[in-house]
Symmetry: C2
Subunit: 422 residues, 2 copies
C-alpha cells in the first residue's frame, strides 16, 4: 500500500485513530449482542444452524439475492427505440478494475444480433493479395493474445456538455468498462491476406441489422487491434458482439465493431454514415471534427457519488476510476474544494496500457460541505481539463468526447449531487 | 508476441504457411457460399435482416445460449452429500487468466450459507488489547486493496495420486480459479485490535453450518492476507463466501475461510478437526505432514485435453495455466514426447504474484500420437515434479498437494486421454 503523497491527506496514524473509534463503536454494539465479547463469538446466526444449498445449485453462478440493485440501468427517453439505446454500468457499485461480464454497459444500433457460432464467418477482402474467410474455429486455431483494456463510448458523459447534471456516475460515466480480451492480433489476419502497397485503411462491419461500420487507419489496425472472441476468459456475451468483436484499444467504442462480419481493405476512409452524420464533433463555428478516435484521459469518483452517499462522518474513502486512450494513467489527483487544491490519490492494483486504474484517497470528513473532483494524467503528460476549458475550445454542440472534470457536491447530510463549478 | 525459444517449435514463417492454407480452405468454402469473394460479403444472414433484442433485456447479463456447456460440473460419487461436495471450473472452455465469477469452482463443508449482509458481523478477539466487531459497512469504510490471486483446493488433482485418470482437466485440475479480490488487509484489522506480545497464530472461522475453521501463523496473517468482499469488482458470490471471505494468497483453499465470522488470536495453533483429521498428508511410513499450506508450482494443459480434442491436423495451439503459491511463475515448459524433450512456452498477459499465468506453445501436428506435458517453474527456482517423483517422496495415501506433471495422450483421431507415463 502506498502512502498518500500530500500532507493534507489523512496520515496513517490519523487513519488508525479514526478507524479504531469506528470499530470500537461497533464492538460496543456487538458486545451487547454477544454478552461476552472477550471469549464468545456473536450469537449463533440461523445460517450457522442449518445446512446451506449444495453444489450444483447453479451450474453457472449468479450474484446474491441481496445484490439485486447492482444492475445495468437504462434511460427510456434517451433514444427512440430500445434497439438503438444504451444501458449503463453501475460504476458506483463496483471496485477494482475488472468489470464483471454481466455488468458491462451496452450500446446497440439495431439490437443484439443473435448469431449461431457454427454459421459465423469473417471475411477479409479489398486491397489484399488473397481474400480470406474465417470460421470461428479458424480464428480459435490462430495465435492469440490476452489484453486488459477499457472500452468507452464516445458519448459517455455526453449529456454533461450542456450541464444536464444526471444524478449518478452510472449515468454520467457508466458507458465504460474494462475486461480481459482474448483473440487474434488483427495484424496476423492482415498479413495472411497480404496487403497491397496502397492498403491504407480498413473498414470493419458488423453482422447486426445496422451493419454498423467504421473506417480505421491501417497504422492502428497493424498496431494493437485484436479480433477478440473472449471476455474475462469466457466467450463474449451476446450484447458484446458474440461470437467476435473488434478490440481497438484506447479508441471510442463505436469502432470496436461487434458481431464482426467483414473487414475491407482500402486506400482511403469510407466516410460511412457513422463517421459523417454520426460520431463527429460539431464545433461552435459550424465545422466538425471527424475521426476523433482517441479517448482522452478521464476519471470519475465512483464513491461517494449521488448513488453512493456517505452514511456517517469520520474516516472516508474516495474511490474512483481513471483511464486514457493514449497509454498508461500516470497519476490521479483529487480535490475536496472544487479544484482549488489538489492531492495525489493512491493508485491501487495493476496499471495497464489503455486500461482502467483504480484510485483511492482517504480523508476525515467532519460533515462540512465539499466539492469533490478528480483529474487524470497519462504517461504522455496530458492532464484532464475542466468542463469549461473544454467548452471554450469545442462549444456545446457535440455530445461526444466530454472528458471534463466531474464535480460532486457532498452535502452535510452525506447526500451527493452532480453540480457545475466555474 | 514473443517468439518461441526452441527450434522444434513452429517458426513464424511455418505458422504463416500453415494458417494461410487453413484460411484458404475456408475461403474456398466461403466463396462457394458467397458467390464472389473478391467483392461481396458472404450471403446476408438472418441476424443481419432483423432487429435484435434491445437494451434492458438482461439487467444482469448471462452467456449466449450457444455456450450452455460452459458450466461448473459436479461428480455425484465423490462425497456423501451435495452440501459437502465440489463443483469444478471448466478450465478447458476458458482462456486468459481471469475466471468469470459464475464459473469459479465450489467446495463446501456444509453447503452455501445464505447471509443477510445487514446482519453480518466479523469478530476479532483473543490475545488482543481490544476485541472488535465489524459490520460489513465498517469493513467497507477501511482502506482497501485490489489483488489478483489464484485459489486452489488442496485436493485438486487428488484422485491422480493413485492414477484415477479422470477424463478431463475440468475434473483433474478444475479446483482452481483466479480473480481480482477487493478487501481490507488483515494486517490493518489486527493492528486496530492491538496484538499482545504472545500473539503468534490466528484461527479463522466461517459462518456456515460447518463453522469451518483453520489456524494460520501470524507471520502470514500480517503479510498478504486480505479480508475480501469483492471478486472481479462485484460483491462475492454466495458460494464464494458472501459477503466476506479470507484471502490467503498462495495457500491451500480450505484456509481461505468463507462467510468469515470470527478471527481468534492465540499463541499456538488450535489443531482443529480440519487440520488433524483432515487436510494433513499421510505419508507411506504412517506419519502425516501437517500445516502444508503452500501450493507448490503447478501447471496443466487445458487445450488440447480430453474435453477439448483436436479437430484437424496442421497448426495447433497448446494452451494452459500455471501457478505457484510461492510467488511468480517464471517459466513454463511443454513436452510433446512425455517429458523427454522440452520447449519453453510463451507466457502471455500479465504475471502477478501468486496468480495464474496463461501459456501457449504452437506446433504443426501431422497426426502422430503424442504425449503432451507441461511443467511450471517459479521465481524461487522450484520446478514442478513428475507424479512418480512425488509418489516416491510422499507415497499414495494422501489426496492432497498433488502438483505432479499431467500427461495427455493425443491420439491419431485427435482425441485426448489422461494417461500415466513412467
Amino acid at each position: 500500500m502506498n502512502e498518500p503523497t500530500d500532507k493534507k491527506c489523512a496520515s496513517r496514524r490519523k487513519f488508525l485513530v479514526g478507524a479504531a473509534g469506528l470499530a470500537a463503536a461497533s464492538a460496543a454494539g456487538g458486545a451487547a449482542r454477544a454478552g461476552n465479547p472477550n471469549n464468545q463469538p456473536p450469537n449463533i446466526a440461523d445460517w450457522t444452524k442449518q445446512l446451506g444449498d449444495g453444489v450444483g445449485v447453479r451450474a453457472y453462478g449468479n450474484p446474491s439475492k441481496y445484490e439485486k440493485t447492482v444492475v445495468r440501468r437504462t434511460v427510456s427517453w434517451l433514444t427512440a427505440t430500445p434497439e438503438s439505446s444504451v444501458s449503463f454500468t453501475p460504476l458506483h457499485e463496483l471496485d477494482g478494475i475488472i468489470t464483471p461480464n454481466g455488468l458491462c454497459f451496452e450500446r446497440h444500433h439495431s439490437g443484439i444480433a443473435e448469431i449461431d457460432p457454427n454459421d459465423y464467418r469473417l471475411m477479409l477482402h479489398g486491397l489484399v493479395d488473397k481474400p480470406l474467410i474465417f470460421t470461428l474455429e479458424d480464428l480459435k486455431r490462430l495465435p492469440r493474445v490476452n489484453r486488459i483494456h477499457f472500452l468507452e463510448c464516445a458519448a459517455n458523459s455526453g449529456m454533461e456538455w450542456r450541464g444536464a447534471q444526471l444524478n449518478g456516475c452510472q449515468y454520467t460515466h457508466g458507458m465504460v468498462h474494462c475486461v480481459q480480451y482474448t483473440g487474434v492480433p488483427l495484424k496476423l489476419l492482415l498479413e495472411q491476406a497480404g496487403l497491397k502497397t496502397n492498403a491504407k485503411w480498413i473498414m470493419a462491419e458488423g453482422g447486426d441489422a445496422a451493419a454498423m461500420n467504421r473506417s480505421i487507419p491501417m497504422s492502428k489496425a497493424l498496431d494493437d487491434c485484436i479480433v477478440a472472441y473472449r471476455s474475462n476468459g469466457e466467450m463474449l456475451r451476446p450484447e458484446q458482439g458474440y461470437p467476435v468483436r473488434l478490440v481497438v484499444p484506447g479508441w471510442e467504442g463505436n469502432v470496436w465493431i461487434k458481431w464482426l462480419r467483414r473487414i475491407k481493405i482500402g486506400d482511403q476512409p469510407w466516410y460511412t454514415r457513422e463517421e459523417t452524420a454520426k460520431y463527429t464533433d460539431l464545433l461552435a463555428n459550424g465545422k466538425a471534427r471527424k475521426f476523433t478516435y482517441e479517448m482522452d484521459a478521464k476519471s470519475v469518483i465512483t464513491s461517494p457519488s449521488p448513488q453512493a452517499p456517505l452514511k456517517q462522518k469520520g474516516f472516508t474513502i474516495i474511490s474512483g476510476l481513471a483511464w486514457s486512450g493514449r497509454g498508461k494513467v500516470k497519476r490521479v489527483d483529487v480535490s475536496l474544494d472544487g479544484g482549488r487544491n489538489w492531492r495525489a490519490a493512491r493508485i491501487d492494483g495493476p496499471v495497464f496500457d489503455k486500461a482502467c486504474v483504480r484510485f483511492y484517497s482517504e480523508f476525515d470528513w467532519n460533515g462540512e460541505e465539499l466539492l469533490l473532483q478528480s483529474r487524470a494524467m497519462d504517461e504522455g503528460g496530458y492532464v484532464q481539463p475542466s468542463k469549461d476549458a473544454l467548452r471554450k475550445i469545442r462549444g456545446v454542440n457535440s455530445i461526444y468526447h466530454n472528458n471534463g472534470i466531474q464535480t460532486w457536491a457532498l452535502k452535510a447530510s452525506g447526500e451527493v449531487e452532480n453540480v457545475e463549478v466555474g
